[in-house]
């Protein structure tokens, strides 16, 4: 009996407490930079696409929402198309973890509602940003041994010159 009255009183006192609700559209919730929101494709510091169309993200994706096709130009691999179906995406971040070139990244943006379901299928144009995302200095082709125009084999960072197979010298 006393307990019930005490409960009533304590609940009544909650009138003076601060409300924990965040009024969303007016007050945006503070999101940490590593929040797993909308997925983007980033670019190298020199402005080229980072994605090398290795398909690891598509394999890692537990809901199979990523689809891409490889294309090649001057030794650089890039996705011909890159499609993420956000109506299936569960924002688990597996694609980001599996990406060898830091190309695919999740951002702290979650406001991507649509009235039509097909509008949730994002193409490469929608995904590709002009910046480098979370890794500003990283450039895959500068650390990889692949030959591209302007960088021959052995010219990458911390890469030894290629070994001449035809010489007998050690």
């Amino acid at each position: 009996m006393f307990g019930i009255l005490r409960t009533l009183w304590l609940t009544f006192l909650h009138m003076a407490h601060r409300r924990v609700t965040v009024g969303y559209p007016e007050h945006k919730p503070p999101l940490p930079p590593r929040y797993r929101g909308r997925i983007i494709l980033s670019r190298d510091p020199d402005g080229m696409e980072r994605c090398v169309a290795c398909n690891l993200c598509a394999v890692a994706c537990p809901v199979d929402c990523i689809s891409l096709q490889k294309a090649e130009q001057d030794g650089r691999w890039y996705p011909d198309y890159f499609r993420i179906n956000f109506s299936r995406c569960i924002f688990c971040g597996m694609c980001e973890e599996s990406c060898p070139t830091y190309a695919i990244q999740l951002t702290p943006d979650f406001e991507m509602s649509e009235y039509l379901r097909p509008n949730l299928v994002y193409e490469k144009d929608d995904l590709l940003i002009s910046g480098t995302g979370k890794y500003p200095d990283y450039s895959f082709y500068h650390v990889a041994g692949v030959k591209i125009p302007g960088k021959d084999k052995g010219e990458a960072e911390r890469e030894s010159p290629p070994i001449d197979l035809h010489t007998l010298l050690p």
């Binding site: 409960t7 009533l8 609940t11 009544f12 909650h14 009138m15 601060r18 924990v20």
Partner: protein, 318 residues
């Protein structure tokens, strides 16, 4: 001073229905306040148009009657529930001059009778739905409401003894010296509990019991028929508050302010109390509810009657 009867009826009806609609929003805001959140605050200033939006939505929903239901009774049930509550307001005196039948010489009995008829709304809704959850809900409702009707009737007898009348207006007039809540504190407590159980409001909303019965007796209802149950519930809250004010808190009497305002103030304070009960208390188990009724409230109300009678006889002149 007395307004013509059609005006009184029309105004009372309009105020009641408006109030019940308003309460659907007000209760949610108040619950939010007591639970550290906002509640509906988007539509209109402070969200007050939420009630209108809900009303429009519920009016335009498909009026679906399940094919396995008993059509006639299914349609009848919400009407009974709504009507009995509205009829009960007929005998509530808002002021000495503003009431539909506040001078009816069996006014209090009329309220009890209408509450008794209100059981049918719930019971028949459950039966006509022809679904097991609804049936379980209505069975609970039947047992709960009949039981608590008994305590309600017994608890108000103390007031009737002191006022010497069943007429609601005379009961209020008899409280001009001292509100009955002081000498009849026990009866007031029993009446409050019985009133909550009778309107099957939380924490005694076992006929609905969302977590175990779907939505209880109105599981199969949708659209405006559900809306009528909903409005009847809120009108019932207002009714029980108004009855408490009339029977125990001196009705329209109070200093300075006009009588109608006093009545409104007291009633709304009690409505807030009911919302607070909902915000704070969990639902008891069904057998606990019945045990509370028959093992605690019944002896208490009988004791109240006996004590009131004894004291009245001791002070009786001659």
């Amino acid at each position: 001073m007395t307004a013509p009867m059609p005006v009184i009826i029309g105004v009372t009806l309009a105020i009641l229905l408006g109030l019940a609609t308003f309460l659907t929003w007000f209760e949610r805001r108040l619950l939010g306040l007591w639970q550290d959140r906002y509640g509906p605050n988007r539509v209109g200033p402070g969200g007050i148009l939420q009630a209108v939006a809900d009303g429009i939505k519920i009016l335009f929903k498909q009026d679906w009657i399940p094919p396995f239901a008993d059509r006639g009774v299914f349609v009848l049930a919400p009407a009974i529930g709504m009507m009995t509550v509205l009829l009960s307001f007929g005998v509530v005196p808002v002021t000495a001059f503003w009431s539909i039948a506040g001078t009816l010489n069996v006014g209090l009995l009329f309220v009890l009778a209408m509450m008794g008829m209100g059981v049918y709304g719930v019971v028949l809704a459950g039966w006509a739905s022809n679904s097991k959850y609804a049936l379980l809900g209505s069975m609970r409702a039947a047992a709960q409401m009949i039981s608590y009707e008994v305590f309600m009737g017994l608890s108000v007898l103390g007031v009737v003894m002191q006022a010497g009348s069943f007429t609601m207006r005379d009961i209020v007039l008899a409280q001009s010296g001292l509100w009955f809540v002081v000498p009849q504190a026990l009866g007031c407590a029993v009446f409050t509990l019985a009133g909550i159980a009778e309107t099957h409001r939380l924490p005694f909303d076992l006929p609905e019991g969302e977590n175990e019965l779907g939505a209880g007796f109105h599981t199969e209802y949708s659209g405006m028929k559900f809306g009528m149950f909903f409005l009847a519930e809120y009108a019932g809250v207002v009714l029980v508050s108004a009855l408490l004010v009339t029977l125990y808190l001196g009705g329209w009497e109070g200093p300075l302010l006009p009588p109608a305002l006093w009545f409104a103030l007291k009633t709304s304070a009690l409505v807030c109390l009911f919302v607070l009960l909902r915000a704070a208390l969990p639902r008891p188990r069904y057998d606990q509810l019945m045990a509370l009724g028959w093992k605690i409230l019944l002896p208490l109300s009988l004791l109240n009657i006996a004590a009131t009678g004894a004291i009245l006889l001791l002070h009786a002149p001659g």
